[in-house]
Symmetry: none
Amino acid sequence: MSSSSQTKPKDLRSAILDAALDIFSENGFHSSPMSRIAKLAGVGVGSIYRYFSDKDALIHALCEQVNVPLKRNMQEKTDTGLSIHQQFVCFVSNLIRYLSSHPREFRFLEQYYNSPYGIDKVHTELVGANGNATDMFTRLFVDGQKQGVIRTLPFPVYPVMTFGSVSFLIRYSLSGGIMVDDALIAATAEACWNAIKA
Amino acid sequence: MSSSSQTKPKDLRSAILDAALDIFSENGFHSSPMSRIAKLAGVGVGSIYRYFSDKDALIHALCEQVNVPLKRNMQEKTDTGLSIHQQFVCFVSNLIRYLSSHPREFRFLEQYYNSPYGIDKVHTELVGANGNATDMFTRLFVDGQKQGVIRTLPFPVYPVMTFGSVSFLIRYSLSGGIMVDDALIAATAEACWNAIKA
Amino acid sequence: MSSSSQTKPKDLRSAILDAALDIFSENGFHSSPMSRIAKLAGVGVGSIYRYFSDKDALIHALCEQVNVPLKRNMQEKTDTGLSIHQQFVCFVSNLIRYLSSHPREFRFLEQYYNSPYGIDKVHTELVGANGNATDMFTRLFVDGQKQGVIRTLPFPVYPVMTFGSVSFLIRYSLSGGIMVDDALIAATAEACWNAIKA
Amino acid sequence: MSSSSQTKPKDLRSAILDAALDIFSENGFHSSPMSRIAKLAGVGVGSIYRYFSDKDALIHALCEQVNVPLKRNMQEKTDTGLSIHQQFVCFVSNLIRYLSSHPREFRFLEQYYNSPYGIDKVHTELVGANGNATDMFTRLFVDGQKQGVIRTLPFPVYPVMTFGSVSFLIRYSLSGGIMVDDALIAATAEACWNAIKA
DNA sequence: GATGAATGAGACTTCATTCAT
DNA sequence: AATGAATGAAGTCTCATTCAT
């Protein structure tokens, strides 16, 4: 209420996180000096340390910041009224679409979960400790098996065939090798389904 | 005693590469001082620079060094007398087995192809610039399509479903989340096949 | 409730000085950020700069603030009716007692007079520029010499044997090496007297 | 033997320690940037870290470096053939003389033993954990008491009256207040003796 | 008057690289 | 050819101080 509209004063924290996302995703954690992040964010170096105790803390905070809209998006696009097959194809397609259109976020997360920072969060993310988006994903397989439309496989195969493929596809496209269009998305999603269907 | 002739010649260079593999795979490129590599290799720091102009050069050389036995292994284990299905399942299984038992190599390559170092080599690797193992992999799909046992899909889907899954599986297992045993390998290889079979 | 009138007026300045004493004596000047002092004082950092132009100014002001009650205490406890011997022993005993029970003040002063801040004030303090407690101390020696109960020595020997011993004793006790009890105080005071008596 | 005489190549370690002594004693630990020490030593900043893992390590090493010749000097000048009285007066006089002519060393040690670095070494130094110079000092009191020439006092009083006085005297002189000449030394040493003699 | 967010100089430390031996 | 001591640029982080509110 104090400021007319809340456009600008979104505060430094967001500016810093945004700049960090830019620079981390482009250069990797170790080639991203705090000073460069500060400059891009338009703040002094010291200011970063008012909001994040550490470079590490900044990285972890950015992970959460990036995950929230990703998971929200996946949840919103879920329509539990559809068949398991349709839900699964939608899930994979949406994930590809979201990550394709958020390359900074994808590159950051890939880096994060492959580094000492997030390496031991990978499992937690996939098995879904508490009510997060992954639970939704897990439920799909459980329900699919019950209905007999998904083959019973060692559990890890499900995320492997799904997230592994999606991750590789985006990585591949970001490296410039391919263009991700609707046809490719549809074909990939269907291939994922074929991999696990009954 | 094991090798009679070629014991000394490649000494230093190999020792350095091996030490680098150890340390890079464990700590990442940026947390791996040249001095630590030198110490582990049992050579002086300066000696590294006689064989590699740069830390970057060392990293790139190590990539090649790591790829050679990997590709040779894949090629050796190929039996063109088998059916496409069998060849494919063998390929995936062998790849998983090889990478599982070579975690240093896997970690290094993951890091390499996800970093500015190798990011734009990903495509080249997959389409197979010259007569390397990937060509063998590519031929599998071409032949499979001709024989009608592999569905015709946008080409990228093949490596995506294969390498993506394998990569994710190994990553997942190395992070401690799962154990890769024969059952899991077989199930994954079969799922990959189902993803693309006609 | 305890004091009726002068509760508010000196509020901030005193709060700041008190907090500074706490933190300086515990951590040293350089490990005592203004922000920590402000927080402990319950004021904003900026407020410190309304009362003290500088961190240096704060330190110097604190020195004065600490010296006032110290000197007042020494003066109050002086009974000029006693013999020189008795006065001297009282002086030393009281000084030890005061400093022992004011460790923050002692630690601060030690630090101050041993640092670039107060290094050249030591002399002024001891020869007594103006009518302060040291004058009282000096008078003791002058009178003692006149009465023939104190040996005539190069003047510096008097403060050296007195303040040097006291300072070392407190330092020693604060470092945890010894416990200062009445017996030790009495023995020390008497030893100081023996050092200079006729 | 390899180099003609061993004049220059006394190596960087010594140069660094010497520069550090200069700067620490003049400015205090916290106002002595490693860069300034390096410059004065005529070496690169990084070189300091080849010899000392830390600024802390440098400080501790310097303490030892400074203590060795100090203790050796005190030991050398000891003549156990003299009377306790004479030995004591010699000890105090020599200590004053040594420290007076080594102001950098004195300032450094004062600072060291009054800081978190050496605060808890004070006691150990004084009670003499193992066969160091202080043992020699302690033995003086034990022997003196046995012979009946030194009064029996709470033990801490001995170092307090001795080291306290000496320390204060040097501090006082270094602050510019007084000049330490033979007369002052003799008077101080005698006063110390009077403080504790039977 | 009081506040505390913002700043940036400067401290400590690491490490790729060089070069005299 | 091999070494490793020496270097200094560059990175992370702290904290005295300012100034808009």
